[in-house]
């Protein structure tokens, strides 16, 4: 039965040794390991979550960029068409203005020509009048050389005047 009787000396040392081992391991051993393992677990979980989020964001970014690209293309088309319209408008306006300016110049020219012409005509008239008076004088002088002709003329003229006044 020697094997089945616990020896007090061994019991004493076992209590002390196990106590010390337990104290050291429970204080500095297992909690550290378990804490690290749990930290690692949360770290891995967080990393996975972050990776998933990053993936989602990446997908979003692609979608976003596609949208932006489409918008840009649309804008480009719009700007181009607007530019074309503006160009057309400007050209048309320029043409119109040129046309009007030309018209104006033409009109002015016409008016000036008219005035020139009129003054020239007036000039010519005056000259003609002067000339015709001179010619008439000369004719008169030659024709009214005698008294009889003169009287005849006066009469006729008087008649004419009377007639015109009668009317």
């Amino acid at each position: 039965m020697g094997l089945l009787t616990p020896d007090p000396g061994l019991l004493f040392w076992m209590v002390i040794t196990f106590g010390v081992v337990f104290f050291i391991l429970a204080k500095y051993g297992f909690p550290v390991v378990i804490k690290m393992v749990e930290d690692r677990k949360t770290y891995i979980d967080n990393s996975l979550k972050a990776a998933r989020e990053a993936n989602e964001q990446l997908a979003n970014v692609k979608l976003e960029s596609d949208k932006v690209l489409a918008q840009a293309r649309e804008e480009q088309g719009r700007i181009l068409s607007e530019a074309a319209a503006t160009r057309d408008r400007i050209v048309k306006e320029a043409q119109e203005r040129a046309r009007r300016e030309g018209q104006r110049l033409m009109d002015e020219m016409k008016k000036q020509i008219e005035t020139e012409k009129e003054s020239a005509i007036r000039d010519i008239r005056r000259q003609v009048a002067v000339l015709s008076v001179g010619i008439a004088e000369k004719i008169m002088r030659s024709k009214l050389a005698d008294e009889k002709a003169q009287t005849e003329l006066i009469d006729r003229m008087l008649d004419e005047m009377i007639e015109s006044s009668k009317q």
Binding site: P6, D7, L11, L25, A26, V33, R40
Partner: protein, 346 residues
């Protein structure tokens, strides 16, 4: 395989009578290794034993005595103390009291098992602290450990996640340090016991004093932190009333259960490890028993003994782990049972 076993068993039967003379030697050999001793015997060359003397610390009727165990060799007496031979105190240090009877003084000598305990505990602490050092040096971002530290981590997590979390339930964190310590303490002591030469080989977990302390720890943890429901289930269990009154049959059984559970823990570990050591030693002893039976039988038996010895050692490694695991698991189960909450109404 069976025919081989039969063939091999024939010489054993034939030798049964011849080997009787060596029986006492085998007994001494096996129990000498299993039991405790005041010196650490390593080997005997011819007639000179090679052993490490260990300090003896004794408080006898004449006060404290601290001396080297080599003083007591071969039945020598030192300061009135000597090692008893035969009787109740066989192999222990005794002194003679006034009536001339052999009595044991207060004996806290560093015996073989105590030294083995110290060495194994140091090994355990060194291993664990090496692991902790690794964790201190490597931040979480650097990933999981490999090699030895990884193995320790896997073991710790196996116990922590499967056994402790699974068996105790809610407040498992409070009991985790004790259960992990118990597991690794038992495991290291079991494995060190399988190493045949000096630093190992002491039959520590195969000694009832060791398992007694371990089982006592579980017993205390179970009952000190037991819930109200746990105590109610012991003294007023949920069984038909005639089983409780007038003869408290069930409460009595349940009450004894408190003590039998840790008692089973103590005996299971002690018996398994002790038996394992005994089996291996007996197998090896076959070689020496059959020496007298002639070279052919001795040769064949040596072969058998070595093959079975290897098998037993491999089995013992398995048993070392299984017993550590079982001890931890049952402790966790007992603690878990003592943490029961109020039964849900069915």
């Amino acid at each position: 395989m069976i025919s081989l076993l039969l063939l091999l068993s024939i010489p054993t039967i034939l030798n049964a009578q011849e080997s009787k003379a060596a029986d006492i030697d085998v007994n001494e050999l096996v129990f000498g290794h299993i039991g405790d001793a005041y010196e650490w015997h390593i080997a005997t060359f011819g007639d000179t034993p090679v052993s490490i003397p260990l300090p003896v610390i004794v408080k006898s009727s004449t006060g404290w005595h601290v001396f080297c165990s080599s003083e007591l060799e071969d039945g020598k007496e030192y300061e009135g103390l000597y090692i008893a031979e035969g009787g109740v105190n066989d192999g222990k240090i005794v002194e003679k009291n006034a009536e001339g009877e052999e009595v044991r003084p207060f004996d806290i000598s560093i015996t073989k098992d105590v030294l083995g305990l110290f060495i194994n505990s140091a090994v355990l602490i060194v291993i664990m602290m090496a692991c902790v050092r690794w964790y201190k040096k490597h931040p979480v971002e650097q990933g999981a450990p490999r090699g030895g530290v990884g193995m320790m981590e896997a073991l710790i997590l196996m116990i922590y996640d499967d056994v402790i979390k699974g068996c105790i339930g809610e407040d498992y964190k409070r009991y985790a340090p004790y259960l992990l310590t118990a597991f690794f303490f038992v495991l290291v002591n079991n494995l060190m016991g399988l190493i045949p030469v000096f630093p190992g080989g002491a039959n520590v977990t195969g000694n009832i004093a060791i398992t007694l302390v371990l089982a006592l720890c579980t017993f205390l943890l179970t009952n000190i932190f037991g819930t109200k429901t746990y105590w109610k289930d012991i003294f007023w269990p949920d069984v038909p009333t005639w089983l409780k009154v007038p003869i408290p049959m069930m409460p009595l059984i349940e009450f004894f259960g408190i003590f039998t559970k840790p008692f089973a823990l103590m005996i299971r570990l002690f018996a398994n490890i002790m038996a394992g050591h005994a089996a291996v030693l007996s197998l090896i002893a076959i070689i020496f028993i059959t020496v007298k039976a002639g070279p052919i039988i001795n040769g064949s038996m040596t072969f058998v003994a070595v093959v079975f010895g290897i098998f037993m050692d491999a089995l013992e490694i398995l048993v070392a782990f299984i017993q550590a695991y079982v001890f931890t698991m049952l402790s966790a189960v007992f603690i878990g049972l003592s943490r029961v909450k109020e039964h849900e109404a069915k």
